[in-house]
Amino acid sequence: MASLHQLNAQHKLANCLKLLAKTDSLVLIEAAVALAVQADFLQQLPQGVSVFALSSDLQARGLLNNCSPAIQPLSDAEWVAASLEADRVCSW
């Protein structure tokens, strides 16, 4: 019963981490894609969490090429698919 956590602002990360189980996934959207290029972001997450970031949001901010290889860019269609693969979406 895994959740997809949808994070849209960096400052909401602390609360998101409290509910983020190691079997959950995380998708960075809007301005939160800035986390994808932040040095110490990934080490804050529990081991095993799949991390995605919306491709268009990365590209719009010039961050697509700087994105960590551990973070998978998603097209909008893949975003929709990810929301259905999880059992629920938890938007922060």
């Binding site: 609360n15 409290k18 509910l19 629920r88």
Partner: protein, 123 residues
């Protein structure tokens, strides 16, 4: 513990009292949810635990606050309130200090609540 229960909707409060009308709109939704006979669970996360802090006097600011709505939760059969154990520590609180009876949960228990609920909304 109750944290193994399954809810139709989990409502998560993350902000201290009188932060915009967030908490009020989250409680409005919880009450309406209940009238549709949907099981509702409430989590008070991070600074959200302060929503249950006693002695609030929102009228000092000519604001309405959520005390009356919180008291009404029981009438709507919403009795399952969970609080973030770490947040209680951060704010030097215990469950005995809070406005309503709650269950203190560690991260794994909070995560289990999410994992067993159909929908979730954060406020």
């Amino acid at each position: 513990m109750k944290a193994s229960n399954s809810f139709d909707l989990l409502v998560v409060f993350t902000q201290p009292p009188l932060t915009a009308s967030l908490a009020k709109e989250g409680l409005d939704l919880s009450l309406v949810n209940s009238t549709f006979e949907q099981q509702t669970g409430l989590i008070f996360l991070g600074a959200g635990v302060l929503q249950l802090h006693p002695n609030q006097q929102p009228d000092i600011l000519a604001l309405k606050g959520t005390q009356a709505m919180l008291q009404a939760l029981g009438l709507y059969d919403i009795n399952q309130l969970f609080v973030d154990e770490q947040a209680l520590l951060d704010y030097s609180l215990t469950t005995a200090d809070l406005l309503l009876p709650t269950e203190s949960c560690n991260p794994l228990q909070l995560q289990k609540l999410l994992a067993t609920s159909r929908n979730v909304l954060t406020f």
